[in-house]
């Protein structure tokens, strides 16, 4: 025979567990809008039936249920979606960084417009046409000089603005590295807390959520991989353990960032910022993880920023901004050098001498866009060599030739033959600049498209994840009613048993009284 009070115990357990479920429902509703929160569920399990198999068991027809108990409180989440989300988020981070950098570059280049380099060059060319019609006119010469100045200043402006954006990118790299380190530290601390809770048989659901949120954040910055490590002790089978977090380097090798609850590594850029608080002016040569060098990172915002800023992986400097600056230097160098060559074949106005330099001589392609200057020779307007022959003030043939420098094909330079080998080997300056802008446009278009694509993909994964883990108020309400009714019913059982007991205690053995 079972105990007289067996029913009371069953009902009490039922009430306690339904109450727990109701509180969990409350927790879900309260966190309906918390980012990264996954809904939680109380796992109801039947408690051990009575009697258990044993030598002294009472002989009753069968085992009798003893009610319910809460097996555990679990969060509803699918780790596969997390993995997918982080993959897409990583791509989005990379393309977003690239698209931002390219968009800023487009803003600076400002083509096609009536104020870009192309227009300035056109006006310079026009000034020489006007000079060719009026070679002896000081006004026309003065316009040529001013337009020359405008070309020089446009080159300076473009190069300086690109460099200044490059410095901003350097700062952004620093900030990104700092936030990677901060996330690594937080992950390590959460791992520690989890490793302390789990061996006691608990599931620290809210810590899990926070850890997953941090991993989502980290995945936008670098490509990561997570490996759970069981906590040991009395941990539940469903316990997630502490996470080892790896980041992928440029060669696709994984590198340990967070070593479970043991510690974490600090990421830093190389060369490190030693002299100035800002980044080094040169390209990055690598990254240091915990003091040892790794070959950059695979994908993610950090990679996008590094590629925009410029890096040197041992085979020369690469990157969006260094490339554009280099092209601008090539353009400025070829333009100034060739222009000088043609200018020197002409003759000045008075006294009529062979033409000197128009732009001051550039010695190297590197930095030409910043170094290009009008020669001090041109301070005297008479020194503009518009004439093709000495002592012919009315001769404007050299001015026409100068005007045509913009459109002369570098594959076939004549009159005069080139004195140096040009970095531009074919096509005109105009075509070279057009291809620069075309390339920029195509790259930006591609980055924008991929930002959109990966955003859509991430969104769809996020939707599926929300579908699993998101809190639905209707569902919680339904559950609330279910739990409430079960709770009420359990209470009603107690009343019934109470009446039963009343019968036994107060109403039995009083026959005939």
């Amino acid at each position: 025979m079972g105990s007289t009070f067996h029913g009371l115990e069953v009902a009490k357990r039922g009430m306690a567990v339904q109450q727990m479920a109701l509180y969990t429902t409350g927790h879900n509703i309260a966190n309906a809008n918390t980012p990264g929160y996954s809904r939680q569920r109380v796992n109801f399990v039947q408690s051990e039936p009575y009697p258990p198999a044993s030598l002294n068991r009472p002989q009753i027809p069968g085992q009798m249920g003893t009610g319910v108990e809460a097996g555990s409180i679990e969060r509803v989440r699918d780790r596969f979606f997390d993995w997918q989300y982080r993959g897409e988020n990583n791509k989005l981070g990379y393309w977003q960084a690239q698209a931002d950098a390219l968009k800023k570059m487009e803003d600076i280049m400002n083509e096609p417009s009536d104020s870009g380099l192309s227009k300035t060059m056109d006006q310079f060319w026009q000034a020489f046409q006007d000079l060719s019609a009026n070679p002896e006119n000081t006004g026309a010469r003065s316009v040529v000089r001013q337009r020359g100045l405008a070309v020089v200043e446009t080159f300076h402006y473009l190069a300086d603005s690109l460099t200044s954006i490059q410095n901003d990118l350097a700062n952004e790299i620093q900030v990104t590295v700092k936030s990677i380190n901060s996330i690594a530290e937080q992950l390590y601390k959460i791992n520690q807390q989890i490793a302390e809770v789990e061996p006691h048989g608990y599931l620290p659901n809210d810590l899990y959520d926070e850890r997953d949120r941090l991993l989502d954040e980290l995945s936008a910055l670098v490509k990561i991989e997570v490996e759970p490590k069981p906590s040991g002790g009395n941990a539940l089978k469903t316990a997630e353990g502490s996470y080892d977090v790896y980041i992928f380097d440029g060669n696709g090798q994984r590198q340990l960032l967070v070593n479970g609850n043991q510690g974490y590594q600090t990421l830093s850029v190389s060369p490190s910022a030693s002299s100035s608080p800002e980044m080094p002016p040169g390209p990055l040569t690598g990254l240091l993880l915990g003091g040892s060098s790794i070959p950059f990172v695979a994908s993610g915002k950090l990679k996008g920023l590094i590629e925009a800023y410029g890096y040197d992986d041992g085979s020369g400097v690469k990157g969006i901004y260094p490339d554009m600056l280099k092209k601008l230097d090539t353009l400025a160098y070829s333009f100034a050098k060739r222009f000088n060559e043609v200018h020197q074949t002409g003759y000045t106005l008075s006294p009529s001498n062979p033409g000197g330099l128009f732009f001051s001589d550039l010695t190297q392609v590197d930095g030409a866009a910043k170094a290009i200057q009008l020669s001090s020779n041109i301070d005297d307007l008479n020194n503009i060599a518009a004439s093709s022959a000495p002592n012919e003030p009315g001769n404007g043939l050299n001015a026409i030739r100068l005007a045509n420098v913009k459109n002369s094909n570098f594959a076939n330079l004549q009159n005069p033959a080139p004195s140096v080998s040009y970095p531009i080997t074919a096509g005109t300056l105009q075509a070279y600049y057009e291809s620069m802008i075309g390339q920029l446009g195509v790259d930006t278009q591609q980055a924008n498209r991929l930002v959109n694509n990966s955003e859509v993909l991430r969104q769809s994964v996020e939707e599926r994840r929300q579908s699993v883990s998101g809190v639905s108020l209707d569902e919680e309400m339904t559950n609330m009613i279910r739990f409430q009714h079960a709770y009420n019913a359990a209470a009603r059982t107690i009343t019934t048993i109470d009446e039963m007991l009343d019968k036994i205690i107060n109403g039995m053995g009083i026959v005939g009284r």
């Binding site: 060319w125 939707e463 309400m477």
Partner: protein, 300 residues
């Protein structure tokens, strides 16, 4: 079955709304700038074509500017030579008069004075300037071509052409060759100014009508020289006009190509705007509706 929650709906709604705003923004850009694209990445091909077409248009506009300069030269030269022809005709008349032996010496001296003045006038015609440039001195435009007081270089010998680029690679000479008109020579009949000086001297020296008559053929030859240069100028002016018509046409074409390439098709953009507007309104309407009551509102 996929579980759908309120927050999923609201997130989607917000995303759709912001996409709708983005499209509206693009249409607004197109309408307010009148251009299809605002940055190269909108359409790289249109962007680089646009740069090339702009350069093309600037070139054509510049050539048009050069045309007025060329007209200036040719018109000024022509009118100067026209005047020179008239002066020479007058001199010829005077010589015909003077070769009449009924003229007395004093009358011939008057004629000599007039011819001397006309000669000086021819010098000033030869030294015509436009915008500070001597147009009858080849490329040596800063010095007067004729200076009869100079013992050696009385007239200029500069035969260089002044060329102006009027089409890509086509440079048209705009000046006349002054050494064919304004000449000075020791040989009689070879130099305009030398012949006139000799004529004046002969008139003053009281040479006979027969002798003076010889100058008529010289003067006729000089008139011929001037007319030959004017004929060439006329031909060149003709060519100039043909080229100008062509450049005018090119300008229209260049502008049209530029416009075709990058100007927004306003009718289409406005239609797009209208469509997008309805889509946006629908999105807003849906947005208002998906924030539905929950089960909570029906429980009591």
């Amino acid at each position: 079955m996929m579980r759908v929650t309120q927050s999923m709906l609201t997130q989607n709604m917000l995303r759709n709304l912001s996409q709708s705003y983005e499209r509206l923004g693009k249409i607004q850009d197109q309408l307010s700038t009148g251009k299809k694209i605002a940055r190269p990445s909108d359409d790289p091909v249109v962007a680089i074509k646009g740069m090339a077409y702009r350069t093309n248009l600037t070139e054509v506009e510049q050539f048009k500017r050069n045309f007025s300069e060329a007209h200036n030269w040719i018109d000024a030269s022509d009118s100067a030579l026209n005047e020179a022809t008239q002066v020479l005709q007058r001199i010829r008349e005077l010589v015909v008069q003077a070769s009449n032996d009924t003229y007395e010496q004093s009358q011939r001296e008057h004629i000599a004075k007039e011819i001397d003045e006309l000669k000086n006038h021819l010098v000033s015609i030869a030294n015509t300037q436009i915008a500070g440039k001597y147009i009858f001195n080849g490329t040596d435009t800063l010095r007067p071509p004729v200076n009869l007081d100079d013992p050696v270089n009385k007239v200029s010998t500069n035969t260089e052409q002044v060329k102006i680029e009027l089409l890509k690679g086509i440079q048209l000479p705009v000046n006349v060759n002054p050494t064919r008109v304004f000449t000075y020579s020791a040989t009689p009949g070879q130099g305009l100014f030398s012949d006139l000086e000799a004529l004046v001297n002969d008139l003053e020296a009281g040479k006979s009508g027969q002798e003076l008559n010889g100058y008529l053929s010289y003067i006729d030859k000089h008139i011929d020289n001037v007319l030959a240069e004017r004929a060439e100028l006329g031909a060149r002016s003709n060519r100039l006009e043909l080229m100008e018509a062509r450049v005018d046409e090119q300008e229209v074409i260049a502008q049209q190509i530029l416009s075709d390439n990058e100007d927004a098709d306003i009718e289409r953009v406005i239609t797009d705007l209208k469509t997008q507007e309805s889509v946006h309104r629908a999105a807003l309407g849906v947005g208002a509706r998906i924030i539905q009551p929950t089960l909570l509102d029906f429980l009591r």
